[in-house]
Amino acid sequence: MERDPRVCVMGEDVGHYGGSYKVTKGLAEKYGDLRVLDTPIAENSFTGMGIGAAMTGLRPIVEGMNMGFLLLAFNQISNNCGMLHYTSGGQFTIPIVIRGPGGVGRQLGAEHSQRLESYFQSIPGIQMVACSTPYNAKGLMKAAIRSENPVILFEHVLLYNLKERIPDEEYVLSLEEAEMVRPGEHVTILTYSRMRYHVMQAAKTLVNKGYDPEVIDIRSLKPFDLYTIGCSVKKTHRVLIVEECMRTGGIGASLTAAITENFHDYLDAPIVCLSSQDVPTPYAGTLEEWTVVQPAQIVTAVEQLCQ
């Protein structure tokens, strides 16, 4: 925001409240109420407003207080955000960033635990990225703001408290690249967002059992980084996808299709996809735990895959 005065933020409680997860804390005091705009509760309209502002020269960042609320903005995100550059014959660019916390939290109930990446992935003309560490959160956010394309940045409700040492100097990550978390030889595990941590936990167990998993955080949910993924598949010949989306129509489903289409010859076994259960996330703690993929399931899946 300091570098480019056209960058502005809009969303519910982003200003005086500092953001529901304090992501925009302190910004309103520094930049004023117009640059950090507290909007009324009207997701469809303020997202559309952000799109109109982006078309006319600003670089807005629209926050969904919870990603799930952006379901109300689906009209604007699908029709206008994704499509206006195309239907205007390239005349208008929409350099907007739409971001917010999503994913399954701690007993937040079904509607506050949604994974919108699977709903948005078919929209042409948008890019989707998911951050998972403080380092890639900052780098991806900068990249998203500077991109001329509309970008949806998925944060996770349970990852805001992570602490990490990150460089002082400025760095920007690539929106289209995946991140190699742990190189290995036996199996490629593709994951993103919070499931990365479940995977790494499972990886510890797997290493103790003598396996050598390669863990890749795909980061870019749309488009997929087929190079990083492809190199890995060519090396290990076995793929496990671990995601928090539901099984039906999720990111994992698309990724499975993409890998099968592009790297079928390199696979020694069918791709295994571990996803959340196709249920509305229950409130009860035990049920919620069984909804998402747990490290023990990942360990079992790798063992079966590597037989």
Partner: protein
């Protein structure tokens, strides 16, 4: 007038009844019980709105309404609202709109134009009345009935016609079509197919304007945005959400309702609990004005005030224009529900005929001058059709070209290079 036997709905010929809603007028009429819109009597305003009204209080409402052909009552000493030059500009713009739409109908039935085409015949006074007051930098946001808004804003007829034919020389390279007219040069922000979805975009453009003035401190940043939409949209959430935000932040926007009484086959009265849309402005803290949308000079008068108000930074205005579309909702609409008597009533109030009469009566133009303009527009349109006919269709390589402003968005391919770097990528032969 008969009750349940007829399938026609008469929004304007019902005599005004008492305001009580205990006994609906029609036994089968499931719609608004409010007194029917009274188009033949002016609605008396509580007090005249002045430009120095306190900014925090609700502005009193001014409603202007009267018949087109009656003489206009002017309060100032000067007799005429426009000069001869202005008159000719307005006439030419309305003729351009009317002839263009007629040409579209012809071309559609000849198989040159496809899909959903929504024509503007009858509503020209609104487009001309408002848009001819704008600067080039001001923004216009429209709906699917956008051809004439595009033309009024300055988009060349050739480019609009080409776009409708789906040719590569269209204003949107053939990628938008009838419902998605855009022009960066003339600041036409669309062309939207879903009703109401353009209003937030218009609000955003107005927000940009205010941002540029107050945050970026750009001198002379006073662009006004006009958002055009219909009566059906006024029951949509986005409309209300944007009225709220625009009034809250005093955005430089004018919400122009083109109330043509029908949303495809749904009469405004059957869909709206309180059909007087202008009243919804004060509910949000902005002036609401009702104007006779078949009279270009009345529209222009109201538009002038609303646009100047926005430019001064005093905030939005809601203007309801009572107008009518002479054709069906789209070229696919058989238009069987509307009462022929209603259509005849409005045909008698054709804005172009009325304006012609005004020009003649006030000696602003002669028959020959207007005929010369008619001829000029005819030739312009013949040229536009010829241009569109001869223009090339978009090639296969155009298919992927404008999906992303930054084509890196297509991602990294299996070979490690960005897909867009492959020279054959836009031909579509590279794997997508």
């Amino acid at each position: 007038m008969s009750l349940s036997a007829t399938k026609f709905v008469h929004p304007i010929t019902t005599p005004p009844t008492s305001r009580s809603s205990d006994k609906p007028l029609f036994s089968t009429f499931f719609g608004s019980n409010h007194t029917k819109l009274r188009f033949n009597k002016p609605i008396v305003a509580a007090q005249r709105r002045s430009s120095s009204a306190a900014s925090t209080s609700f502005s009193p409402v001014v409603a202007v309404s009267s018949d087109v052909v009656k003489e206009k009552k002017l309060k100032s000493a000067s007799n005429l609202l426009i000069t001869k030059e202005e008159g000719l500009v307005l006439y030419e713009d309305m003729i351009l709109g009317r002839f263009f739409e007629d040409m579209c109908a012809q071309m559609y039935y000849r198989g040159k134009m496809f899909g959903f085409v929504h024509l503007y015949n009858g509503q020209e006074a609104v487009s001309t009345g408002f848009i001819k007051l704008l600067k080039k930098e001001d923004y216009v946001v429209s709906t699917y009935r956008d051809h004439v808004h595009a033309l009024s804003k300055g988009v060349p007829a050739r480019e609009v016609m080409s776009e409708l034919f789906g040719k590569a020389t269209g204003c949107c390279r053939g990628q938008g079509g009838s419902m998605h007219m855009f022009s960066k040069e003339y600041n036409l922000l669309g062309g939207f197919a879903f009703i109401g979805e353009g209003i937030p975009v218009a609000t955003g453009a107005a927000f940009s304007s205010k941002y540029r003035r107050e945050v970026l401190k750009e001198p002379g940043a006073d662009e006004v945005t006009l958002a055009f939409f219909g009566d059906g949209t006024c029951n949509n959430g986005q409309f209300y959400e944007c009225l709220n935000m625009a009034a809250l932040w005093k955005l430089p926007i004018v919400f122009v309702v083109e109330n043509n009484l029908w949303a495809i086959g749904m009469s405004h009265l059957r869909a709206t609990s309180d059909p007087q849309i202008w009243k919804k402005g004060p509910a949000f803290g902005m002036p609401g004005v009702h104007v006779d949308g078949m009279d270009v000079l009345k529209v222009r008068e109201v538009a002038k005030e609303a646009i100047e108000r926005a430019r001064r930074g005093e905030g939005p205005t809601l203007v309801e224009c009572e107008t009518y579309r002479f054709r069906g909702h789209s070229l696919a609409d058989p238009d069987e529900l509307r009462d022929p008597a209603e259509k005849a009533h409005y045909a008698g109030r054709d804005p172009i005929t009325a304006f012609k009469k005004y020009l003649f009566d006030n000696k602003l133009a002669s028959e020959q001058e207007l005929k010369a303009i008619d001829k000029k527009i005819d030739e312009l349109l013949d040229d536009a059709v010829e241009f569109a006919d001869e223009s090339p269709l978009p090639p296969r390589s155009q298919l992927l070209e404008n999906v992303f402003a930054d084509p890196k968005g297509f991602g990294i391919g299996a070979d490690g290079k960005y897909r867009c770097e492959d020279p054959k990528f836009t031909q579509g032969t590279a794997h997508v």
